[in-house]
């Protein structure tokens, strides 16, 4: 069997191209691949395409009894296991380093940064709360699975509608989606994640949204999660070549601009999809 790529000629070609300021797929250094969002028939099902990288996210909700230490908040759990479909290098049951990074980053971006208002998920304090389950399936890994997964997760949460619930005294009635229109989740803000790859040769500037080859040959990755109002939520740099402070500030400024653009795209896609569905509100 042939040894795993990248091969030495590929490596040398990539580095010499980057030194000349050219990326192999023709993008600018701070240009992302085109984002495509496809929504499924059910609410809360979205497939996110970032170039060739594809991630599927789906949100499910059910009612449970809350844990005793937090009786007023709902519960969110995220399930994101990478299958060999994303690439035959991933094995089931043995999380690779990249998979652990993705799981931890999804946890930070979606759970710990309080994207979803957990108190709005409470139905009857101490007895019934909503348990949201976000399932993230990575379908194809062509570099930068992390950004794609975070985007798919956030858009799925925005797309999802939970059934309407009426509480009279101690009695809880859940209305079927056909009798009363389901209501959207209340989200505090929309977080978008941007990953930059930088290389061991410090004369090469960092690149945004690395594709497969750039991600394999990187000297380090820095991921920034922020919302469209210039508020940084997560900055993660795990290992890799040290970066100058000026570089980091430049990266943050680029990320701020990209977040605004991405927010516009996401909102317009969601609006388009919503208009295509027939929902009557009585």
């Amino acid at each position: 069997m042939r040894p795993p790529s990248p091969s030495i000629p590929e490596k040398e070609f990539l580095f010499s191209a980057l030194k000349q300021g050219l990326r192999l797929d023709g993008r600018e250094f701070f240009e992302t691949r085109p984002v495509t969002l496809t929504f499924g028939p059910e609410l809360g099902w979205v497939e996110c395409f970032l170039g060739q990288t594809r991630v599927l996210a789906q949100v499910d909700a059910k009612m449970i009894k809350p844990p005793p230490e937090r009786p007023f908040e709902g519960v969110i759990s995220i399930h994101s296991e990478i299958s060999p479909m994303a690439s035959s290098e991933f094995e089931l049951g043995r999380p690779s380093e990249e998979e652990v990074t993705i799981t931890r980053m999804l946890d930070k971006v979606i759970r710990r940064s309080d994207v979803v208002d957990k108190e709005s998920l409470c139905i009857l304090a101490g007895q019934r709360v909503w348990h949201l389950r976000l399932n993230v399936h990575c379908l194809s890994d062509s570099g930068n699975l992390l950004d794609c997964a975070c985007l798919a997760g956030i858009v799925a949460l925005k797309h999802f509608r939970r059934p309407d619930v009426e509480v009279i005294g101690e009695e809880v009635t859940v209305h079927h989606p056909t009798s009363r229109a389901p209501i959207p989740l209340s989200l505090h803000h929309n977080l978008y994640c941007f990953t930059f790859a930088f290389f061991s040769d410090t004369s090469i500037h960092p690149v945004l949204d690395p594709n497969h080859l750039e991600q394999r040959l990187n000297g380090g990755l820095i991921s920034i999660a922020l919302n469209a109002h210039r508020e940084l939520c997560v900055v993660q740099k795990s290992g890799g070549v040290p970066l100058e402070p000026a570089d980091v500030l430049r990266i943050v400024n680029v990320a701020v601009q990209k977040a605004k653009d991405l927010d516009v795209i996401v909102e317009s896609r969601l609006r388009e999809d919503w208009e295509g569905r027939k929902v009557e509100v009585r």
Partner: protein, 221 residues
């Protein structure tokens, strides 16, 4: 039914298939690729099938489906052609599947066949198409009815159900074709001998299934 090819970038072949308006499964295949020493077989290739539901971790239902698929695929792929290699299938459900019905098993088999055709790198004996058939008690008259799809109002009349898989190969012209039923799980949904299944019943159900599978095959072509 709906089918499409996906072109996922890191695997050899991929396809989506569903009975109805929306794809139910997305399957990817990589092969022949390197195999772990523990599962290597000296004279034939190893087939590995992973079935992943949309929600929750894969459980016993997924394992059952994976075992069925492995059996069916072993008849479709020419295993002796590539010894000491691995052919890896990953079947991802795109719709919530709380329990794996016969229709979903048929959809999975068709999806795997499509992704094999898309890949082109694995030698195949033929094309396997599967459909699920239900037998309903007759409304009036004595002959029970065999239908391909179960509608809501026929559920009370359900007597037996099952999935049939047919291997199609060697079509000389578009009218004649050779197909053989290679796998089925025709079973009665009642316990007791009143509405049990017997050999004639199986033969009748199989014929209905054969023509339905032929339609699936035409669509694939």
């Amino acid at each position: 039914l709906i089918l499409s090819f996906d072109s996922l970038s890191r695997v050899d072949g991929s396809a989506r298939f569903g009975f109805g308006l929306y794809p139910q499964y997305l399957t990817s295949i990589s092969g022949p690729i390197e195999v772990r020493l523990a599962s290597e077989q000296p004279s034939q290739s190893t087939i590995e099938v992973h079935v992943r539901p949309l929600t929750n971790v894969p459980g016993t239902e997924s394992k059952k489906a994976a075992v069925i698929l492995k059996e069916v695929l072993q008849m479709e792929v020419i295993m002796e052609a590539n010894p000491r290699t691995l052919i890896q299938f990953v079947v991802q459900a795109l719709v919530p599947t709380p329990n794996v019905t016969d229709e979903l098993v048929a959809a999975m088999i068709n999806c795997c066949t499509l992704s094999l055709l898309n890949a082109g790198s694995v030698p195949m004996r033929g094309v396997i198409c599967a459909v699920s058939i239900v037998r309903l008690s007759p409304v009036k008259g004595e002959i029970p009815i065999y239908k391909v799809h179960l509608t809501e109002e026929s559920i009370p009349r359900l007597e037996a159900t099952g999935c049939f898989a047919f291997l199609f190969s060697d079509s000389v012209s578009s009218n004649t074709y050779a197909s053989s039923c290679i796998w089925t799980n025709w079973h009665s949904s009642y316990s007791g001998s009143a509405k049990a299944v017997d050999e004639d019943d199986l033969v009748r159900a199989r014929d209905v299934a054969r023509s339905a599978a032929r339609e699936v095959w035409d669509r694939m072509k």
